[in-house]
């Protein structure tokens, strides 16, 4: 068996995430009027139409791709699996993601600054429902039951977490943070260490390989919460396959309300964050 740790994946999936390959999103934009914004369906550029508006919604990339390929049974949404090539499906998905909340950069557009930009909003004058508060965000960040919460993968000020240390998030543009929370695949990061592993005893593991030796791999097992850093003997492994995309869950758009997302952003930024700043 060969272990591909450290080898960048060369599959069509690698380019799925919007922003990771903005050329792909441009291809999708070209395809969109032919297949999607036809009468009675999704409007021009995903705006208003008879079918659900696509622009400005949160989307899980995996679920989105599934809908494009298989359609939604018992609705007007047809399946495009037979009509579009694999690459065209990826392109349409990339485009739809690019018009979702906190859109990733268009081709040729300037990359949004990772530094916080001052926004002239008088937070005091906004209703509470539009303002995120750090203390509430901390509670949400450190939530550790069920699917919600960031702790376990992310730390503040410590580098030994599964995901990035988020203490630098204070310095980042809240829009970029929101995009990274809702669309983890949008950022062009090295995903080469994300694998699914089947052990000979039948156990299935989704994990990030940290290091590999002659006899074992050491990985963060993400199939459990809190995640576990485990040493897996190679002789116990039946199958090991790379997984495209980010290991971060893609359903935070469904798990949190807008208000809660604002609170989490406020905690990450160490200050109150208001809804208008995200536009």
């Amino acid at each position: 068996m060969r272990f591909m740790v450290g080898v960048v994946l060369a599959t069509a999936w690698a380019g799925l995430a919007a922003g990771q390959n903005s050329g792909l999103a441009s291809e999708g934009r070209a395809l969109f009027p032919r297949y999607c914004s036809i009468p009675y369906c999704h409007g021009s550029e995903g705006g208003e139409g008879r079918a659900p508006t696509l622009r400005g919604r949160t989307r899980d990339p995996g679920a989105l791709r599934d809908i494009v390929v298989n359609g939604i049974p018992d609705t007007s949404m047809p399946d495009f699996g037979e009509r579009l090539t694999e690459n065209e499906v990826d392109a349409v998905v990339a485009y739809v993601l690019s018009i979702s909340i906190a859109p990733p950069p268009e081709a040729g557009a300037s990359v949004p600054s990772r530094e916080a930009k001052p926004v002239s909003v008088d937070i005091e004058s906004l209703p509470a429902s539009l303002v995120g508060v750090p203390e509430r965000g901390a509670t949400l960040f450190f939530e550790a039951s069920g699917e919600r919460g960031c702790t376990g993968c992310h730390h503040m000020g410590r580098g030994d977490g599964v995901g990035p240390d988020l203490s630098a998030a204070k310095e980042q543009d809240p829009r970029a943070l929101l995009r990274d929370i809702l669309f983890p695949d949008a950022e062009d990061a090295d995903r080469s260490a994300f694998f699914t592993i089947e052990l000979k005893d039948g156990e299935h593991i989704r994990g990030i390989v940290q290091e590999e030796s002659e006899t074992a791999v050491r990985l963060h097992d993400l199939s459990t919460r809190p995640p576990v850093l485990r040493r897996i003997a190679k002789e116990s492994i039946a199958k090991m396959e790379p997984v495209p995309g980010s290991p971060m869950p893609k359903n935070f758009g469904e798990l949190y309300t807008w208000k809660e997302l604002l609170d989490i952003l406020a905690f990450l930024q160490g200050r109150a964050v208001s809804y208008p700043e995200l536009h």
């Binding site: 901390a138 509670t139 450190f142 550790a144 702790t151 376990g152 730390h155 503040m156 000020g157 410590r158 030994d160 156990e203 050491r218 097992d221 459990t224 919460r225 809190p226 995640p227 576990v228 850093l229 485990r230 040493r231």
Partner: protein, 557 residues
Amino acid sequence: MRAKLVTVLSTVVFGVLCGTTAVAQSLDQAESQPENWLTYGGTYNSWRYSPLDQIDRSNVKRMKVAWAFQLGAVDMGFQATPLVADGVVYVIGPKNRVFALDGATGERRWHYFHEIPEGHSVYGNQNRGVALGHGNVYLGTADNYVVALDATTGEVAWKVNVEDSAYFGCNITGAPIVIKDMVIVGSTGGDSAHRGHIVAFDARTGKLRWRFNTIPGPGEPGNETWEGDSWKYGGGAAWMTGSYDPELDLLYWGIGNPAADLYGEARKGENLYTDCIVAIDPDTGEVVWYFQEIPHDLWDYDSAYEAILIDAVLDGRERKLLIHPNKGGYMYVLDRTNGEFLTAWAFSDSINWTTGLDEKGVPQNRREPVLNTETLICPNAAGARSWNQASYHPNTGLLYNVGIEWCSMVIARKQDPKMGQSFLGGEFGRVLPPPGEVISSRLVAHDPITGERKWVRSSKYPLLASILSTGGNLVFYGDPEGKFYALDAETGDELFRFNTGAGHRGSPISYAVDGKQYVATPSGWGSLVSDYFPAIWPEAAGFTAGATLFVFTVDEE
């Protein structure tokens, strides 16, 4: 001489990883392996008793140091219980340094130093012990990880962060315990705005199996014993190690005090399950029964100490008992099948926070801390005994337990909780002697049911180390000045003493390698409670820190 060693029974192996070693075996068999010391309390019943009888009252005076090992980090004292399996000693010292040592020579097999990031040891760098099982050595860490090390190599098998130490204001200083295919551990945090818990991980993979929150959440029975959202910040740390009855299949764990410690106005109610002994179904983490020793505790009287499981005749009936000391100075005797309160006796002579317990064990006429005003409370929050454990000797039938007579001037202060931050709700104040007396301490041989004192051996300084008793009818203990003693278990007469050069804060054990018995004791002063000493005895400022494991044996004549 070798013939006197208790027969080593052929062992039943249930191991999954290294099928031939004690580390891999089911710990249910620990009592049939006197050569080993496999769990924190020696065996699941937490007797801290070794049946080994090679070293006895006739030869203990010839006991000599076989080897010593220095652990190299000394802060907060050397508080651990070493474990032994198949001739290898596994010991953890301050700063989460773990060593595997040859039991006969002290030679190092491997070591593991857990790196603790700055500012993440919220309750200190001390550690009270590791656990063994499934081919692994398990430790809880100062930054709130549980780590499994391969017992043969010391390599990390798995590692998991229970929760963020800095945010939640808790970490792990107690020893984990292996039950079936799980490793189970509690955490500190009882004096923080924090919600306590006991967690069980799959011993092989590190996956979370269950989490028992010591404070019930909304919708769970017991949540109504907390006012408002005080349950979120109510403490209840399970900071010591539980006991287990394999026959009843119940895990017993003592739960610590509620927070804020001294100010209770914002947490009106009984505050379950703080100050309780809980019996937990080890497969699910669910409470089977509980007994609350102190409803709505206002003195920081944890019930976190050991649960000693003995069977005895009480009122003409054979009972399965659980004997449990509380910081407040009472030893509780419960029926461990159902949690029924049977009796209790005081091991402190100066209790003033209550006039006594009623027939159900409920403290009467409570003397409570007063807001912004000094009140003399006896014993103080360090306890009529510290966490260091008692020993039960099945042949003498006696419980060897420490008592300390000390008080302090307590002031309650209003405090609002902030997650993970210190939440004392007042000041523990000056440490004082009981009125008209001096601060004193003693080791006592008690009848475990009635508390009757068979013999008493006094100590100038409060004893802060655990007791060991052995089949050689000996009792071993160390004192704050560094002396290590062997006493006659029946009379209390001193038979041996050795100066280890630093005060005792840990727990002695006994084991055997190749048919030869050894007695091991940690030596190394330090901890929050020992920091009380210099204000009372100025010379105690010179009680130096250390972290040395001394191992004694008796050579053939």
